[in-house]
Amino acid sequence: MRLSEVKAGRSFKIISIPDDEIRVRAIRLGMFEGADAECIFKISGGPVMLSVGGQEIAVGNPLAKKIIVDLRK
């Protein structure tokens, strides 16, 4: 499932993040492949706000479409 499709309030695991540089920047912010995260809120057609490791991060829509996540039951 893509990050852009996750509904607000759902928890998930980040499976893959595209692009070397973005992946490295994301690691610094605490967001990495394998990390547990929660979707706080999303602006339709706009950024997805997620909370990972107590840190709130905004991910632009085009990037959110490329990040693959796994919903937790």
Binding site: D20, F41, M49, A58, L63
Partner: protein
């Protein structure tokens, strides 16, 4: 004997953005700090003295490498520093420990200052500083910048800073370079370090980063214990602002407040006093009287110093009387937005809209800065990622965004004419903004970068910090503007005295009178507008015009070329062809829109 090692030791403050680093730095160095601009960047570092040692503050960073100017500057300072005081936000340990781990891996002598402990207590979170110190292998001092806790302890412990527990993967590669710092940067593929060691081997950046991330998270989780899931007010407000239903009204209220404060309070109430009472009422008669004693009236030098555009009359009256209150008011507003944590949230809210003109939410920073000073804002387009975004932002700034000095005068001129006139102005400029952005987005090749942004906690800004920031930005503006105004005054005085000015005005008449339907004298304002935008608008305020003419003049001057300083910066930041294209388009768009306004309405 002289203890050279001790004397030479420099202390460097390092931390993520918004962790309260500058408060601790300030406590060490007092008020006597030296702000220096790093060559080739917009980034400032401040240094001062503490017990005879040099203490340097670095820009807030998430990690050390060469991703942006901030990191390059911090990297240089860190590599040359002896003791690193790493300020971390106890509420964001996972995020902050990444940088801490990197500093430790670099083999630097580190001491960690665990800030925001008052918040930690309030939220009933427990952090085991002793265990943290054990895990990292360096001293940890709990502190609270706001309450002044831990500052003395930090000062007493600073010399206990030591080399911590370096990650095994770094130790394993210790033979590849002279120092651990070099090893870390080499493994992480730092371009300059690769060059230094003439290596091109595939870097292990991701492997090292992943290991470090996991270690940082593990340590953070070990030392932190939360009683329950605490959802505090700051978090609630922060999340509420991200919802368009609350965020947009909030944004509009903010904008109205800013325009009211800058355009009315500063430009009219305060400037009436500083310009009208102090500069025109007291200063001008004084200086004219004084100079007249030495230089006879009607000569070239009398014109140069105290004439209509005199270096000692117009320049200081404009800069001190008019612009200083405006610019200070703008930077006060901007500092409030910045320090409260509003700006990243505005960036998120506008991300979708800005993507339509080829920008992402981050571009809101140069665009907002443009309302303060277009020149400074043009420099800040560097923080955008692709060349495409930089070009779009620079063009929008150069053509459509009025700077604070201009806004003050524009609001002053248009407000008395009523809401409809103001609305026409705003809609016209807004339309040009959208059209310019959309066209550039279509025409320019390539793709724009996407938003990936950390949202800091919302907090109540500290008045002291706000005051300091406003003061230093305003000082910077005045020192820059004074030079330009002196040169501008001199040029105009020479032009006027030699009669060239009236020739230029005669030449520009068809444009001014024919196209824009403005009074002949308005040409002065336009020529001055090339020197400085606000200069131009200020020149118009003395000419009697009909409401329609005022509207046309203000619109044209807003869209007209930016001031000479921002044109210079534009040429420096962008390629010559690109800058020239933006500059010329500005002229054409301004005259076209102004002409349409004059003839249609």
């Amino acid at each position: 004997m002289f203890d050279f090692t001790r004397k030479e030791q420099t202390i460097v403050f390092v931390g993520n953005p918004n962790v309260g680093k500058s408060v601790f730095f300030g406590a060490f160095t007092g008020v006597y700090v030296e702000v220096s601009n790093f060559a080739g960047t917009t980034v400032e570092t401040t240094s001062g003295k503490w017990r005879g040692r040099t203490v340097t503050d670095t820009p807030g960073i998430y990690g050390i490498s060469d991703f942006n100017d901030e990191e390059r500057v911090a990297r240089e300072v860190i590599l040359n520093g002896d003791i690193i005081v790493n300020v971390v936000d106890a509420l964001h340990l996972r995020r902050d420990l990444f940088l801490t781990r990197q500093l430790i891996d670099m083999g630097k002598r580190v001491i960690v200052c665990l800030n925001m402990m008052d918040e930690v207590r309030r939220l009933k979170i427990k952090i085991d500083a002793k265990l943290l110190s054990e895990r990292l292998g360096v001293p940890v001092i709990p502190a609270s910048a706001i309450r002044g806790e831990g500052i003395e302890e930090l000062q007493n412990a600073v010399d206990k800073a030591c080399v911590g527990n370096i990650m095994p993967i770094i130790l394993k590669h210790k033979n590849i370079a002279e120092s651990y710092a070099d090893v870390v940067l080499l493994l992480e593929g730092d371009r300059e370090m690769l060059k230094k060691y003439r290596r091109t081997d595939p870097c292990m950046r991701e492997e090292v980063y992943s290991l470090r991330r996991k270690l940082a998270d593990k340590i953070a989780d070990e030392v932190t214990s939360k009683s329950a899931k605490n959802f505090d007010l700051s978090e609630k407000i922060g999340r509420l602002l991200l919802r368009p239903a609350f965020g947009f009204p909030f944004l509009i209220i903010c904008l109205i407040l800013i325009f009211w404060f800058v355009g009315y309070i500063a430009a009219q109430v305060v400037a009436d006093f500083t310009r009208g009472v102090i500069m025109e009422g007291i200063y001008r008669p004084f200086i004219v009287n004084l100079i007249s004693k030495f230089i006879p009236n009607g000569t070239f030098f009398s014109e140069l110093f105290i004439g209509e555009f005199g270096i000692l009359t117009m320049a200081p009256i404009c800069v001190i009387g008019l612009l200083t209150p405006l610019v200070a008011a703008f930077y006060l507003m901007l500092s409030l937005l910045e320090d409260s944590g509003c700006i990243p949230r505005i960036a998120v809210l506008l991300d979708r809209s800005l993507s339509k003109i080829g920008l992402n939410g981050r571009a809101i920073i140069p665009l907002i800065l443009g309302f303060g000073c277009v020149t400074a804002a043009t420099v800040s387009t560097r923080l955008l990622t692709t060349r495409r975004e930089k070009t779009i932002a620079t063009a929008l700034l150069g053509i459509t965004i009025p700077c604070s000095a201009q806004i003050g005068i524009i609001v002053g001129a248009l407000a008395p004419l009523g809401g409809v006139v103001c609305l026409i102005y705003a809609v016209t400029i807004g339309a040009v903004f959208i059209i310019t952005g959309t066209v550039l987005n279509r025409v320019l090749p390539g793709n724009s970068s996407v938003l990936l942004l950390e949202l800091p906690r919302m907090r109540i800004p500290s008045p002291k910090n706000i005051f300091k920031k406003t003061l230093s930005k305003t000082e910077g503006f005045i020192s820059e503007a004074t030079g330009v105004f002196i040169v501008g005054s001199a040029v105009l005085s020479v032009l006027k005295y030699s009669g060239l000015l009236s020739s230029i005005i005669t030449a520009a008449e068809p444009l001014i009178i024919g196209v824009l339907k403005l009074p002949r004298e308005a040409a002065y304002a336009f020529i001055m507008g090339i020197l400085r935008r606000d200069f131009g608008v200020a020149g118009l305020s003395d000419i009697v015009m009909t409401p329609k003419q005022t509207l046309t003049a203000m619109t044209t001057l807003t869209l007209f070329v930016p001031c000479i300083a921002s044109v210079l910066v534009m040429f420096k930041e962008r390629s010559k062809a690109e800058a020239a294209a933006i500059w010329i388009s500005g002229f054409i768009i301004a005259l076209t829109v102004g002409g349409i306004m004059a003839h249609v309405m």
